[in-house]
Every structure is written in C-alpha cells, then in structure tokens.
C-alpha cells in the first residue's frame, strides 16, 4: 500500500509508484464493497457528511459562478447583438464543463481533505489498529463507506451546483440586465440535449470525478505516515492530486464523449 517503499529518488518513478499503489488500493476497496453492505449506517452517515454538509459551499459557489458567467457573456454577446443566447450559453457551459469540474474541485477541497485528515488521524491515534484488533476490517468499515458516499454524493451535488448556476444566470440576465424571461428559458431548453449535456456532461463526469477524488482522499488517509506532519502532507497531496486528476480526466472524458 505504501508507495514510499519503492524508494526511487526520481519524481516520475515515485508518481508512477503512487498511481500504481492507488490502483491496487482501489481493487482492495472494490473487493470490500460486499462486506461493507453490513455497515449501511456508516455509509449513510458518511453520505450526510460529504454530501449534505457540502451543500452550502456548493450552492453559494454555483450561484456566483452563474451570475458572473452571465455578466461576462452578456457584455461579449451584446457586441454581436446576441444577448438572447446568453442564457443558453450559460447553461451549456455549466452543464458540460463548469458544473462537474468546479463541483469536483470544491468537493476535493471540502470533503476530500476532511476524509484524508480524518483517516490519517485515526491511523495516528491507533483507531485503525484498534479496529483490526477488534476483528473489524477497516477497509470495509472506514474506507469503502466513504468511497461509496463520495461516488453517490458528487452527481447530486453537481446537479445542485448546475441548478444554482442557472438560477444565478437568470437572476443577473433577466432580473438585472433585462433579458426576456421567455427567451432565456426557450433558448436554453431548445439547445440543451439530455444525453450529451445532462447525462454525459453532468452525471457521467461528476460520477467519475466523485470516484477519483474520494479514492485519492481515502488512499492518502490510509497511506499517510502516522504523525501530525504526515497527516498535513497527505491532506495537501489530496488537494494537489485531486485537482490534477479532475482536470486531466475532464479533458479525456470530453474528448471521448463529444
């Protein structure tokens, strides 16, 4: 599990070793899924923690992203006399890219770091070892419920983010800048495609991002050195690795799904 034992001084080798160890950890995690069903209460507790507790930041950020996007688009599109399309462009930008990516980045910062720090501290204070001594599998009890909760919560949070962003765009475009309400909605509904934009854009991407961010967060928690310094480094690594993974995966998914 610990990639450090590969011991290469080369950054590339170390990164590859980390990715490999993370992949092996994913297999362990998936193998523990049937065993973790008995801990359904723990999974729902984690769903509350990573999902419901992240709602505020997701809603507020979604609102402002939609508002600023509409503001920028309105001024650019007004040059060409195309302000009536701004609602549609806001919706497409949010559904296809900004919604899943920004939600995942916020999720990594809010829930991912919390997961890593919590598991890291559990390791540092022997709570994980105590579970093993009590014949409770920590992968099935600690890791898998958090992973499943992250995978389930991300698409839901992404939907909330997108809804708030469209609402923010409507607020600025219709209420403040005077775009016609009917034009705003009709252009949007005419251009937004259920499969390309909602299923592929919002749901599929956010599902993939949720899995990747939570996997990285849980893995870093388990692989951390059991010291306060180790937990701090692991938390930082979660944010850095998740951010890179989200943006790289976004490019790959967009290329395949378009």
């Amino acid at each position: 599990m610990n990639a450090r034992r590969w011991g290469g001084s080369n950054v590339v080798t170390q990164t590859l070793a980390q990715i490999g160890a993370c992949g092996l950890f994913l297999l362990t995690l998936l193998a523990a899924v049937p065993r973790s069903f008995q801990y359904f209460r723990e999974t729902s507790r984690q769903l509350w923690f990573v999902g419901a507790m992240s709602l505020t930041i997701i809603m507020v950020c979604g609102l402002f992203v939609g508002m600023v996007l509409m503001l920028q688009l309105y001024h650019v599109l007004s040059i060409f006399g195309g302000t009536s399309a701004s609602g549609m462009v806001v919706a497409l930008s949010v559904y296809r890219e900004l919604g899943p990516v920004v939600t995942a980045l916020l999720f990594a910062g809010r829930a991912g770091t919390a997961i890593t720090a919590e598991i890291g501290l559990m390791r540092a204070t022997d709570q994980i070892a105590a579970m093993e001594m009590m014949a409770v599998d920590p992968i099935a009890y600690v890791a898998t419920p958090r992973f499943l909760a992250g995978v389930v919560a991300m698409p839901l949070l992404c939907c909330v983010f997108c809804a708030m962003a469209v609402f923010g765009g409507h607020l600025v475009g219709v209420t403040w800048l005077g775009i016609d309400n009917g034009t705003f909605w009709s252009n949007m509904t005419a251009q937004v495609d259920l499969r390309t934009d909602i299923i592929n854009g919002v749901l599929l991407k956010s599902l993939a991002f949720g899995a990747v961010v939570t996997l990285i967060a849980v893995y870093q928690g388990f692989a951390t050195a059991a010291t306060s310094e180790g937990v701090a480094h692991a938390t930082t690594r979660t944010v850095v690795a998740s951010s890179i993974a989200i943006l790289a995966l976004d490019f790959v998914l967009t290329a395949f799904l378009m």
Partner: protein
C-alpha cells in the same frame, strides 16, 4: 481459592512462540525468540525501549508478520490463518493500547458497544445491559455518555479496558497500561487487571516498565533484550538473579549489556582524527 470443577485444558500454555525472527529497518528485533505464556496467569514482558515488546504483541495478534518462526495461539498458527479465521481468533483477544485508541466519533457507551454491534445481532436491550455491566466493572457506568475528549487519561484507559473485555476474551494484551497515569489511576488499573485475571481466569500479557506495579500483580516476568528472552522468573526475585541483564535493567544502570551508545562508526574516525592514531 477453590480449583475449578471443569476439566483442565490439555495444554497449559496458551501462547507458544518458537524461533521468532523479525528484522525491521535492517535491525534484528527478534533473533530466534522462544517464549511460553501460560493460561490463566499474568505474564509481564519487560525490557528496555526498542526491544520489541509492542512488536511481539502485534505478532501474537497476527497484526504483523514475522520473518521466521512460529506463534501458536490456543493451538492455531497465527501466521498461517486466513483473514476470516484470524478475525475469528481476534474476537477472543482483548488489546489495550497504550494511548487507549478510543474511537473519537463515538461516546463511551458506543465505544464499548462497538465490537458487540459489529459481530453480533443482539437486541438493543441486551447490548445495553452488557455494556453497562462492563462499564460498572471499570467504575465508569456514570460516564457512559461522555465523549473520549472529555475523559482523563486514566478514565480513557478504563473505557478501553471495558471495550477489551466486552466479549470475555481468553487473552488480554496490555501495552504499557500504566504510562502517564497518576498513582490513583495506576492503582485502579492494577486492581482491574488483577481482578479480571482472578475472577474471569483471563490470560493476561502485560508489557510494562514499572517493576513495582508488575511485582504486585504478575505471576511471571520475561525480560527481553537482544531479540531474546534473557531472564525470566518470579517478579519478586528476578531482580536479584545476578545476571548482568537484570542488574542493568532493574538497577537502572545507564551502561551495561545494553550499551549507552547507539551503534556507530568509531568516534575519532568520524571526527577525522583516525590517521593520527598510533
């Protein structure tokens, strides 16, 4: 005390360790260690820091694999057990961590109930009764709804002890249970260990540095050094057995068979004066 009526077990040794060898970071922590831990007794394992006492406990529970050798726990070879059987075996073992290792998300009651909820389908009322009985035994029934952060070090260790005995295990491993305790808390833990051993007949393995505490409750002491048992015997007399190991450890001598200096290259060589030597 009256002898039990039931048939005594065929083997009086609960844990049998043979030829245990463990190398960590290039250093041999155990070098062919042999040890027997008798049933129903309190065995104290003592030794200087870094001699592998905690590592030995982790080997006994199968938490850590040795490089060679064998550990038979109640006739089962711990290292060869598959995960399910190892977990089954661990249900019969209580482990008291040095830092108590209470689950910080749960209150005292839920910490003690944790193994019961994970491994049984007992009705809630029965779980409640068992947990309250265990908490009553360690004197903390009134603290059932406190969070671990609200407990003193001694109280946390008593809660951890209640959790360790919740399944009435055949073996309890105590990893330095007296560290950082005031005299009152230390005596409470001492009393609990002795009472549990006497009333339930639980085999106890005690890793500790405090000879005075060990003398009060232990039946047998094993002194670890250099990866082996270098001395063993009655806790009241072991300090006087005349061996250089016991003289250094129990006499608190800074230098002896366990050297004061950590192994290093010659000091003069490291300072660059080696050439000046005759």
């Amino acid at each position: 005390m009256t002898e039990p009526v039931s048939t005594p077990p065929a083997d009086d040794t609960l844990v049998r360790i043979r030829g245990l060898t463990t190398v960590l970071g290039g250093r041999a922590v155990f070098d062919g260690l042999d040890m027997d831990i008798p049933r129903g007794r309190i065995t104290a394992i003592m030794g200087a820091s870094g001699t592998g006492k905690t590592t030995l406990l982790k080997h006994i529970t199968g938490h850590m694999r040795a490089d060679a050798g064998q550990i038979l726990l109640d006739g089962e070879n711990v290292a060869e057990l598959p995960r399910e059987q190892l977990y089954e075996l661990r249900e019969g073992i209580g482990y008291l961590f040095q830092n108590s290792a209470l689950l910080t998300d749960y209150d005292v009651f839920e910490n003690v109930a944790f193994p019961l909820r994970r491994h049984t389908r007992l009705p809630e009322v029965l779980i409640r009764n068992v947990v309250l009985m265990k908490l009553q035994a360690v004197g903390l029934r009134g603290a059932a709804r406190l969070m671990p952060s609200e407990l003193s070090g001694g109280m946390a260790r008593r809660v951890a002890l209640a959790r360790a005995i919740v399944f009435d295990p055949m073996l309890i491993l105590y990893d330095e249970p007296f560290v950082g305790l005031d005299p009152v808390a230390l005596n409470q833990i001492l009393l609990l260990i002795a009472t549990l051993n006497r009333t339930l007949g639980i085999t106890s393995v005690l890793v500790a540095h405090e000879l005075s505490a060990v003398r009060e409750i232990a039946d047998h002491v094993q002194l670890l050094a250099n990866g082996k048992v270098v001395a063993q015997g009655d806790p009241k007399t072991i300090a006087d057995d005349g061996s250089p190991w016991t003289r250094q450890f129990f006499g608190g001598e800074a230098d002896g068979p366990v050297p004061f200096q950590y192994p290093a290259v010659d000091f003069a060589t490291e300072l660059g004066f080696a050439g000046a030597r005759p």
